[in-house]
């Protein structure tokens, strides 16, 4: 279970007209997207492998983000009192390896305690044969630990439930959480985030032969599953397109429901969808991304020195284009499950 617990402030007010315009704007894109997926489905046996957002659609989505004042996949803005006001929650502190009390504490203890997920395929999961925890999130956590503690660091991976990601930090159970946490306005009130390390958005996911073509009328009468208390659920509650909504504790539980024929579609973010496609190659993403969200490493608000240090690590982790460590990790865990367009590290935003 993941995602934001609140909707986007930008979409929140005066929603209906925005939303409609947004959907109308996206309809054409959705259509082309569906067509592309359709041809892929028909033509290629390895469709399951890259059955994510078709490249064109994703590119178009990004393009619309840059140009359109009413982006298709709208970004949340905090303190959004007026037109274009407020700030992006993904803005973090400028990178620095100066250190401070938090970094000292970790370096003195010689141990980094990281809150992770053990159930998120391709992001953070346990390999049953050797019991090692691996994934895209885990690579990043290791990189941070190596930078802080030197080679072969002592990392404690502590599995934490979705609903305790913030609480584990605030009660000092972990030093940081690297667990596909979206940066939201609500969360930055409680914890600090690093700069973004992955961009994603909510999207519908269906089995290969599903008649559902996107977040539209094709959902009518279908059972659509989402994880409890997530952005996905909020989106569906706002506009269900006549679908029957079903809530499960975890997005993976939704995949179980689909496989058992008890649901026809699930809504989650496209990054986690990679894990679903990895486990069931007959699943595919349809329609366009409905939100734009950033994953960040969560830390205690007072550990500003640590946030800056992690941002410095991220900057070097993501530097070097296709030869960056970020890209190597993407290649190992996510390429083949996500469109190649997703294989570009996000531009960091700093507020100072």
């Amino acid at each position: 279970m993941r995602g934001t617990t609140r909707g986007e402030a930008g979409v929140g007010r005066g929603l209906a007209p925005h939303w409609r315009a947004l959907l109308l704007g996206g309809a054409g894109l959705a259509l082309t997207g569906a067509m592309v997926v359709g041809t892929l489905t028909a033509g290629s046996p390895r469709e399951g492998g890259d059955g994510g957002v078709p490249k064109e659609t994703a590119d178009a989505t990004r393009a619309s983000l840059d140009e359109d004042p009413v982006p298709l996949a709208s970004r949340e803005r905090c303190d959004d009192s007026g037109e274009g006001g407020g700030f992006d929650p993904a803005e973090s502190l400028a990178p620095s390896r100066e250190g401070g009390p938090a970094v000292d504490r970790i370096q003195e203890s010689g141990q980094l305690v990281v809150g992770i997920d053990q159930n998120s395929y391709r992001w953070g999961y346990r390999q049953p044969d050797d019991g090692k925890i691996v994934g895209f999130d885990i690579d990043l956590a290791r990189a941070i630990a190596e930078d802080l503690l030197g080679p072969d660091p002592d990392i404690v991976f502590r599995a934490i439930p979705t609903d305790q990601r913030i609480g584990a930090l605030r009660t000092d159970k972990v030093d940081m959480v690297v667990r596909s946490v979206s940066i939201t306005c609500e969360r930055i009130e409680q914890v600090a985030f690093s700069a973004s390390y992955f961009e994603t958005g909510q999207q519908l996911m269906v089995p290969r032969n599903s008649p559902i073509t996107g977040f539209d009328e094709s959902m009518e009468g279908q059972r659509v599953c989402s994880a409890k208390e997530t952005t996905a659920t909020q989106l569906l509650e706002r506009e269900s397109h006549g679908a029957h909504l079903m809530e499960r504790p975890n997005h993976l539980d939704c995949l179980v429901q689909i496989q058992l024929g008890l649901a026809e579609a699930l809504m989650t973010d496209s990054a986690l969808a990679a894990g679903h496609i990895g486990q069931d190659p007959t699943m595919r993403l349809v329609g366009e991304e409905l939100t734009a969200e950033s994953y960040g490493v969560a830390m205690r608000s007072e550990d500003e020195d640590l946030v800056r240090w992690v941002n410095a690590v991220l900057a070097s982790y993501q530097a070097g284009g296709t030869s960056s460590r970020w890209h190597a990790s993407f290649d190992e865990w996510l390429s083949g499950y996500l469109p190649e367009s997703a294989g570009v590290p996000p531009e960091p935003l700093y507020r100072d």
Partner: protein
């Protein structure tokens, strides 16, 4: 009518004929003039009948005949009612022993096998490819046992629509459950976290559908067993009332006889009174015995049995939650909360609003059962301690250490759970035997009652006939 219209040849005419309207019968053996109410032409005409009836009331022999008739009728009614009511109760006692008790026990076993299979499935899942053969066998055996019992319950449960529905639901859900467990295993072997999601869903189906239905079935069958027991020991008011009426009427007849003849004893009536009295005492005493034996069984071993069964179920649920905490791989903290509340229901100290089931059981048992419960409590405390160790491993990120601590061999929480489970099963079996013995002991009194009722009532009726015929003969 058993009353002889013409008296048997009264051999010793020792009785003086009671004189009509003369309370103190004189010693005059003068036979009264031929009684008007003769058996001949009894049904000649309704009018004649009425006249004769009136005449019969008018004369002593007529009254005697009526009294005899009424007494015999009352006695027969007493006998028939007693036969019917005690046969009914003996039948209920037999049903309780031979049908509803085993059915209730079957239902309890179905629940336990299912819960155990679910717990074992989670243990096996945690072990993954290293699942010991014994764990797999235990899962398979419990599923097989449960479906076997379901099949036999389906054969017995025809008489209740509700239990048939429950059994049908259980039969339909069980293969679905096993399918989910196998899918979970298959996915897990492909290294997919989806396996754990499948196992959690299987657990959800087990809790919400299978165990819920099995629990309902158990309650239903137990209620039926209790109802049979209650029926077996229900007080036969009609029979007792009639018995009291019979003894009273016989007493009145003897008093009347005494007042008229100043003879203290009429042997026939005395014999009849004795027979009726014995039957009355038997009915009342037998039911009293059965009732108090059942009362004792229910308040003693029965209550302990319920507590112990609940404790065993709670221990199974705690173990299941403990396993699923690890199956969820830290993705869900509700399982650990469930474990904690289950253990609390087992071990809560007595000063709380509700004392722990194990401590209650300790107070309710004695002898060897008590020893077993004591050992179970000790093992449960060790279990709690070991569980904390396992949680600490998990918190420190040592997932494999946590798994070893939970499903390993010596020193694991699994070892402690097995010990708790075995000790409780031992105590449950003991209490079950005690309860059955106690509950059934009282019912033995009821079994012999129907034939006794027949014999004693016939005796009483014969005595009455004789007791009435004697004085009647003296009027000849």
């Amino acid at each position: 009518m058993t009353q002889p219209p013409s008296a048997p040849p009264a051999s010793p005419p020792a009785f003086p004929a009671p004189r009509a309207e003369v309370p103190a019968g004189r010693a005059a053996p003068a036979p009264p003039p031929g009684p008007s109410a003769e058996p001949s032409g009894r049904l000649a005409a309704p009018l004649g009948c009425v006249r004769r009836l009136r005449a019969a009331f008018g004369t002593e022999p007529g009254r005697l005949r009526l009294i005899g008739l009424a007494l015999a009728g009352l006695l027969l009614l007493f006998g028939v009612t007693t036969y019917w009511q005690s046969a009914d109760r003996a039948e209920a006692a037999r049903t309780a022993r031979e049908t509803s008790q085993p059915l209730s026990r079957n239902a309890a076993d179905i629940y336990r096998y299912l819960a155990d299979a679910n717990t074992t499935a989670a243990s096996g899942f945690l072990a993954g490819a290293d699942e010991p053969r014994s764990v797999r066998n235990r899962y398979v055996r419990h599923i097989a046992n449960a479906s076997e019992l379901l099949a036999s319950a389906a054969g017995h449960g025809q008489d209740s629509a509700l239990s048939a529905v429950l059994i049908a639901r259980l039969n339909a859900e069980l293969p679905r459950y096993t399918g989910l467990v196998e899918t979970a295993r298959a996915n897990d072997r492909q290294r997919l976290p989806l396996g754990s999601a499948y196992l959690r869903y299987a657990d959800e189906r087990m809790q919400d559908t299978l165990l819920a239905s099995a629990d309902e079935l158990y309650r239903l069958e137990t209620a039926r067993y209790r109802a049979d027991l209650a029926q077996a020991r229900s007080w036969p008011w009609l029979s007792i009332g009639l018995g009291v009426a019979c003894v009273g009427a016989l007493g009145w007849a003897q008093r009347r006889h005494y007042l008229r003849t100043h003879r203290v004893l009429n042997p026939g009536l005395v014999a009849a009174t004795t027979a009726a009295g014995v039957l009355l005492l038997w009915v009342a005493g037998g039911h009293l015995m059965a009732s108090s034996a059942l009362q004792e069984a229910e308040s003693g071993p029965g209550r302990a049995l319920t507590t112990l069964s609940d404790a065993r179920t709670e221990a199974l649920l705690a173990r299941g939650s403990e396993n699923l905490t690890l199956v969820a791989r830290g993705g869900d903290s509700t399982f650990d909360e469930e474990y904690i509340s289950s253990m609390d229901r087992l071990l809560a100290p007595p000063d709380r609003a509700r004392a722990g089931l194990l401590l209650l059981a300790l107070a309710q048992t004695e002898g060897e059962s008590r020893t077993a419960v004591k050992e179970a409590i000790g093992a449960a405390r060790v279990w709690e301690h070991r569980h904390e160790e396992a949680r600490r491993f998990e918190m420190e990120g040592d997932y494999d250490g946590a798994i070893r601590q939970v499903i390993g061999n010596a020193g694991s929480t699994g070892e402690s759970f097995d010990r708790v489970n075995n000790k409780l099963t031992d105590a449950v079996d003991r209490q079950q035997r005690l309860f059955l013995d106690a509950a059934q002991s009282g019912l033995n009194w009821l079994g012999a009652m129907p034939p006794a009722a027949v014999v004693l009532v016939l005796l009483a009726a014969a005595g009455t006939a004789r007791g009435v015929a004697r004085p009647l003969a003296e009027y000849r």
